[in-house]
Symmetry: C2
Subunit: 125 residues, 2 copies
DNA sequence: ATAGCAGTTGGAGTGAACTCCAAGTCAAGT
DNA sequence: ACTTGACTTGGAGTTCACTCCAACTGCTAT
């Protein structure tokens, strides 16, 4: 697959795909005889994974660390597991906070709806 | 309350508090005769709100817009409500995605745990 | 063989959200 | 009167994560 195909398929810009490769967030991609990137299905799965994790707020730093461990083979299994566990925890914490904020927004909107029904009321920020 | 008191209480750096005021994310804070900021309880509530929303991913841009509307009085009630509603929606979308990612991490960790029990196994990234 | 287009590189530029700094002010304690 | 320490300002610097650019290469179709 060419870079533009992957870009469309994964909805990530070609620049970002090159950037991810450059900083070691995905492994080096095979090239055609002409020097163009030729992504495999496996590459795509990895890219999808990275996209998903980035989207959830995992830093490039952390994901790079994960793949660096990966490159060092199976003796890093435990370290990788622990890294994932740690990220899982902090994701869960973020999620809880965001759920609280969602509730707060819901409440605030309901207060606005009441104010909008009874004309002439102002609210505190 | 002095800036350092609020900073401690809200766990936001004094620099950030000044920055939020400068960009219009919180209203201008009263000053003592000597020109020092003197935060009111109301100021604190607003700061807490901003912190909470920022933490959930709302941009400074959006929060500024909200407070700008606020300053224009009750004729902007509806606009403010709609802005909150929109942010609520996008927060909910983010939350769902992150929940999916959490599940994915859980699964991945469980796969690692299996691999760690049966020695000698390697995994795909 | 030449135009056109997708791809390549290294490196510079961008935007968001802080964070830090220097130089100065002010009130309180010795 | 002087030191100390918290505070002030405007503006520069930083970090993160891209995003863009210029100059170049190499297929493909005319």
């Amino acid at each position: 697959m060419t870079i533009s195909e992957v870009s469309k398929k994964c909805n990530i810009s070609a620049d970002t795909l090159r950037y991810y490769e450059k900083v070691g967030l995905i492994s080096f991609v095979n090239r055609t005889s002409g020097g163009l990137r030729d992504y495999s299905e496996e590459d795509c799965r990895q890219i999808e994974f990275v996209k998903c994790m980035r989207n959830a707020g995992l830093s490039i730093e952390v994901l790079k660390k994960y793949f660096d461990l990966f490159k060092r083979g199976k003796r890093t299994l435990k370290a990788r597991r622990d890294l994932l566990e740690q990220e899982r925890k902090s994701l869960q914490t973020r999620l809880k906070e965001m759920q609280e904020t969602l509730k707060r927004l819901d409440y605030k909107i309901s207060v606005y709806d009441k104010a909008l029904l009874s004309e002439d009321k102002e609210l505190k920020f």
